[in-house]
């Protein structure tokens, strides 16, 4: 059983929410606090060419292997592409989660693809142990 300080509500002191826990033994654990500052969490791969940068890759599906997750993890995946490492990356797909289903899309073909994974939730526990990118090779650029 848990109660916030006071009457199941939070009192805020200089940006810190004071809470207390009443454990099963009746001991009150006071002065736990939850601050309100948040920071983002993200990962960005380098440009991946899957063996041959001059063959265009159309990305249809991205699978993330996530383990050790708490509740629903609100991960977002963005796919970027480019043909030339000297030119800016182009955003091809910006995907929001859909339950436990893989991230599906159909991108324009580029020689390089890269992946950005971002946790936009308020801090969930998860662990990424691998990922797969599936799609079609679309022939050589030239």
């Amino acid at each position: 059983m848990v109660k916030a300080a006071g009457e199941n509500s939070l009192s805020t002191v200089d940006g810190i929410a004071q809470v207390q826990i009443l454990d099963s033994g009746g001991v009150v654990r006071q002065y736990l606090a939850a601050s309100t500052d948040t920071v983002s969490c993200f990962l960005q791969t380098k440009d991946l060419h899957a063996g041959d940068p001059i063959i265009r890759k159309i990305v249809d599906l991205v699978e993330l292997d996530i383990t050790d997750q708490s509740f629903h993890v609100d991960l977002h995946v963005s796919i970027y592409g480019r043909d030339d490492l000297t030119t800016p990356r182009k955003l091809l797909a910006d995907l929001t989660p859909n339950g436990n289903n893989p991230f599906r899309m159909h991108t324009t073909g580029y020689g390089y693809v890269s992946l950005r994974i971002e946790d936009r939730s308020i801090r969930r526990r998860w662990k990424l142990t691998g990922f797969r990118i599936l799609g079609n090779m679309a022939g050589k650029r030239y």
């Binding site: 002065y31 606090a33 526990r125 599936l134």
Partner: protein, 422 residues
């Protein structure tokens, strides 16, 4: 549709800060993630456990066991006037344990200048429920469970010392008013008795000068039975040699040093440190720089505010098998980011939040981190719960701390709408 890429070892190479494209193993950028085993995950949860007693950063501290209680002691800086605080495991809030006689502490250096490093207090456990602290300005302070107080004037201790440490039955004061490369020690088992610091035929007090040091003594960290003393570019061992000299010095390594009081972090008998030459690992016999030249350039030619580098604070996070340095980045006067090295899989990563000081969980079950406002956080509470106790530092094993929309983490705890105890 066919499989184009199948990446299994996503921890490979960690975060490749500063590397050019072809040299990057996999991840070229990221923030607030850690690499462990073959996976990547968000940094461990942090639960704020003590509301800031005063508005200001922490500047040094330690964990101790005093009068039977696990105790966190730290110095907080409000302007140039520091205050010392204590948090016992059975106390709900911070207690001011600053000296009661002699007036407020004064003249701590808030921001690094061309001539002065930012002030950091140094503390040492003296055993017998006694803790010693010093700031390099005011007299050495002694705490015996109530408040810190000036060391007795009749003890003839150095007027001030920037670092205190303990070896065998002696308290050592380093970088004192008698010289910034001087080490002085008290007589055996006597830190505040009459004449305890005056070398005499009938006591074991003494001093020595580290004349090979090309700078002031910056940092001192235990290395087995000796004390590793760092300047900006040398590493010495100060060792107990017994009577009649009691302590001796040995130059261990050159081209190795510390940028700040807490820039070198012990992890067992290995030291990890941030020097102006890079990030190193040493056992006192050999050393190597574990950052590559590209990471070095990334740190020192773009990311780090070199004018405030003396505020760098390293913390050993044993649970993550890692060492983290919180530091000021360009344009910031406060430690506002961190670089972490995982010595288990030799990967680097970075955090986008700052902490002004941290302890490694020497006495408590978890490390403590203190933000730039003075709030105290406890690391990893949400993931690992030790045992039932009377203290808010403990949680039942089945207790899941869920704040707001998720578990507390990344130096915050969501918005704290509800805590779930299951």
């Amino acid at each position: 549709m066919k499989e184009m890429l199948n990446i299994r070892d996503v921890a490979q190479g960690g975060l490749a800060l500063g590397l050019k494209h072809d040299s990057i193993p996999l991840w070229e950028d990221g923030s607030n993630i850690v690499f462990e085993d073959a996976g990547v995950r968000p940094i461990p949860a942090q639960i704020p456990v003590v509301n800031k007693p005063i508005q200001g950063p922490a500047r040094g501290g330690l964990e101790s066991r005093v009068d039977g209680y696990r105790t966190l002691i730290w110095a907080a800086l409000q302007g140039a006037e520091p205050k010392l605080f204590r948090r016992r495991e059975n106390e709900g809030a911070a207690t001011n344990v600053s000296r009661t006689s002699g007036g407020a502490y004064s003249n701590n250096v808030i921001d690094e200048t061309r001539t002065d490093n930012a002030t950091f207090w140094s503390f040492a456990n003296w055993g017998s429920d006694t803790v010693v602290g010093t700031d390099g300005v005011n007299p050495i302070q002694i705490y015996k469970g109530t408040t810190f107080e000036n060391i007795a004037g009749t003890a003839d201790a150095p007027t001030y010392a920037k670092i205190v440490a303990r070896i065998q039955q002696h308290l050592l004061a380093l970088n004192t008013n008698n010289g910034d490369n001087v080490v002085e020690w008290c007589s055996e088992n006597d830190i505040d008795g009459v004449g305890a610091w005056t070398p005499a035929i009938n006591n074991s007090a003494g001093n020595l000068v580290l004349r090979h040091l090309s700078s002031a003594i910056i940092s001192a960290v235990p290395l087995g039975e000796s004390l590793a003393v760092y300047g900006t570019d040398e590493m010495f061992a100060v060792e107990y040699v017994g009577p009649p000299y009691y302590f001796g010095q040995r130059l261990l390594l050159t081209n190795i040093g510390s940028v700040s009081r807490y820039g070198v972090v012990p992890a067992g008998r290995i030291h990890y440190g941030l020097s102006h030459r890079g990030i190193f690992r040493t056992d006192g016999i050999s050393m190597e720089y574990i950052d590559n030249p590209q990471l070095h350039d990334y740190l020192f030619q773009g990311w780090v505010n070199l004018e405030q580098i003396s505020k760098t604070v390293g913390v050993h996070l044993a649970g993550d098998r890692s060492v983290v340095w919180f530091l000021c980045t360009k344009g910031s006067m406060k430690p506002n980011a961190a670089i972490q090295y995982n010595y288990g899989n030799q990967t680097f990563t970075r955090f986008s939040f700052g902490r002004s000081f941290g302890t490694s969980g020497d006495v408590f079950f978890f490390p403590h981190l203190i933000d730039n406002d003075g709030n105290v956080f406890q690391l990893q509470v949400g993931d690992i719960a030790p045992s039932v106790g009377e203290s808010p530092f403990y949680f039942d094993p089945e207790c899941t701390i869920t704040a707001g929309y998720g578990e507390a983490g990344y130096g915050e705890g969501g918005w704290g709408e509800l805590l779930v105890y299951s």
